[in-house]
């Protein structure tokens, strides 16, 4: 089980190792609300996609899998976007086009194609859930650093004593790269990512 979680964190959480989905991780990590909103959108779309794909993957001919999986992901992302617009409009305002762009995200497709297409529903859900949660946690950690130090605020509420010490660059694209790189490096160091991946390759 420990190995499963480690796999999910390092291999299954795309932006940690393959740098897939780094774009929306960075775009969503300027504010904790945006990070949670995007994290929830990724998590739900991955779970729903995994359930459907793992249920129907035997019925779909191999030659039609790519477009079909993409239309499934697009469908779920569109539904989530409608729900977010209705119930979390502020998050939609913050995320802008990045939420819609989730429909063509390699993160969800990879999960559908690599895991759900080869496993049953339970394994697919478990992987999607774990990967989605890890991704959300990483976005929230990045957002916590960027919003606090870059904007001198948390959850949109100003932190007065930090107002004169904020590093505005952290709130921008440059800061997103720097913070993501630092978080990624810290996780790799703490979890021994390199050894884990090398071990997997030898197996």
């Amino acid at each position: 089980m420990k190995n499963f979680f480690k796999s999910c964190l390092l291999r299954g959480t795309p932006s940690m190792v393959l740098a897939l989905g780094s774009g929306f991780v960075m775009a969503s990590s300027a504010d904790i609300r945006a990070a949670l909103g995007m994290g929830a959108a990724v998590l739900i779309s991955m779970i729903l996609t995994s359930i459907v794909v793992s249920a129907i993957h035997k019925l779909i001919p191999a030659y039609a899998k790519l477009p079909v999986y993409l239309i499934i992901i697009t469908g779920f992302v569109s539904i989530i976007q409608m729900l977010w617009q209705a119930f979390f409009p502020i998050v939609v305002d913050m995320l802008g086009a990045h939420l819609a762009a989730l429909a063509v995200s390699a993160v969800i497709y990879r999960d559908a194609e690599e895991v759900a297409d080869h496993n049953g529903e339970w394994t697919s859900i478990k992987t999607a859930l774990t990967t989605g949660i890890f991704l959300t946690v990483i976005m929230v950690i990045c957002a916590l650093i960027r919003e606090t130090l870059g904007n001198a605020s948390i959850w949109g509420v100003e932190i007065p004593f930090l107002a004169n010490y904020k590093v505005s660059a952290l709130a921008g694209a440059f800061g997103a790269y720097v913070v993501l790189a630092c978080v990624l490096a810290a996780i790799k160091k703490l979890t021994g990512a390199e050894e884990h991946l090398e071990g997997e390759e030898h197996e």
Partner: protein
């Protein structure tokens, strides 16, 4: 991929597309009205900020007649609570027009007001944090609303924008016009009757003087003076000449000589004299100037001092104008007996300063010489124009026109 695979793929995709379309169609019944409500809330957020208890708004701008240009939009609160007006205003310090939103109750009083956009280099909110809130509960008369010291142009523009919004509502009979006090009517006459008194600020009053204002450019003083039940406006220019007006705007100086005397006494104690400065400048421009004598002016413009003098046997008149461009301007004119400018000079040519980032330099001598020989008949304003320095150009125009007006008043004009 053969044709069969292609058809299969299309059919499968169509099936999934149909399923998701149906799901989204159904979901839209739930989320659609909520999204519409959210969008409406975002659109009306500035309106709700100034009228929080409003149910809904309906824009009525297109149905109104005679709406001033500065009014951006007028909204009616659908349950009859009142109106919300969005207006704009510009000053010479504006990068972009300021935008103001204010709510007016059905009985014509401001229930909320906020500044949505403000780009002036001088922020009147930092000089008087309570200025905007002082509009609350005021009707269209805007009684006791003055200007902010140190940000006169911006706060005046703000007040004018609010007045324009009220005017749109009043002219369409949506609210009843507020009643102005005599003192307010008189104070609002100052810019018209004494256009040279710029950046006026309230000063301490005494005796029968209810209210007193001093011009920021030292062009004189304005007073609202009580005489029995009636109030009068007394204006004293920088040369000590006083005129008294009643609330109808009629000149009653002769009939109200006591008021004039009281106003002149107050002004005399507080007015800064520029005669010495003018004398010095005249002798600098005309080394042989003699018989220099101060002149009282009947004008109420930016000319703060005037003298007559002789040079080389000819008669000349010197004028000291204090108009305001980007900064205070101190401009001197010497006009000959025929009304032609003999010399123009300034204490500090503002256009030499660094703030004109785009200013490519100019020949001061040529610029000054461009005024020489001009009379009030041949003056078009072109000589005052300095490329990229609009505010200074406008100040120079005003000073020149005021000097001509002062000269004409001496020579038996108005």
């Amino acid at each position: 991929m053969n044709i069969k695979h292609l058809i299969n793929t299309i059919l499968i995709l169509l099936a999934f597309a149909l399923v998701f379309s149906a799901a989204m169609f159904g979901l839209n019944f739930i989320t659609g009205p909520i999204i519409e409500e959210n969008n409406k809330g975002a659109e009306f957020a500035p309106l709700l900020a100034v009228m929080p208890d409003a149910d809904n708004f309906e824009e009525i701008t297109s149905t109104l007649a005679g709406v001033p240009e500065s009014v951006i939009a007028v909204y009616k609160e659908t349950s009859g609570r009142g109106f919300v007006v969005r207006t704009s205003a510009s000053t010479q310090y504006s990068k972009e027009p300021m935008e103001i939103t204010f709510g007016v109750t059905a009985d014509g009083k401001i229930c909320g007001i906020q500044l949505d956009v403000y780009t002036d280099s001088i922020d009147f909110r930092s000089k008087d944090a309570n200025y905007i809130d002082s509009y609350l509960e005021k009707d269209s008369a805007l009684a006791d609303i003055g200007t902010v010291s140190g940000a006169t142009y911006s706060s005046t523009a703000f007040k004018d924008a609010v007045s324009a919004g009220f005017s749109a509502l009043i002219s369409n009979s949506l609210i009843v016009e507020g009643v102005k006090s005599d003192a307010q009517i008189l104070s609002e006459m100052i810019p018209t009757l004494a256009p040279g008194m710029l950046k006026t600020e309230e000063v301490a009053a005494s005796g029968n003087i209810e209210k007193a204002w001093g011009a920021g450019n030292d062009a004189g003083f304005a007073y609202v003076v009580k005489n029995g039940d009636a109030s009068f406006l007394a204006l004293v220019n920088a040369t000590g000449v006083c005129k008294v007006y009643d609330v109808a705007g009629a000149d009653v100086t002769d009939a109200q000589s006591a008021i004039a005397d009281e106003a002149k006494a107050h002004a005399s104690a507080n007015q800064k004299s520029y005669t010495e400065d003018l004398n010095t400048r005249v002798t600098k421009l005309f080394a042989d100037a003699s018989d220099i004598a101060p002149i009282e002016l009947s004008t109420f413009n930016t000319v703060v001092s005037a003298v007559s003098f002789k040079s080389n046997g000819a008669e000349y008149y010197g004028f000291y104008s204090r108009s305001i461009g980007f900064h205070q301007m101190d401009v001197f004119f010497v006009i000959d007996a025929n009304g032609a400018i003999a010399k123009m000079d300034a204490k500090q040519f503002i256009f030499e300063e660094e703030y004109f980032a785009a200013f490519g330099g100019m020949n001061n001598g040529e610029y000054k010489a461009g005024f020489e020989g001009l009379t009030s008949e041949t003056w078009t304003g072109d000589a005052a124009v300095i490329a990229t320095a609009t505010m200074t150009s406008n100040a120079m125009k005003q000073s020149t026109e005021d000097a001509f007006a002062a000269f004409n008043s001496i020579k038996g004009g108005n």
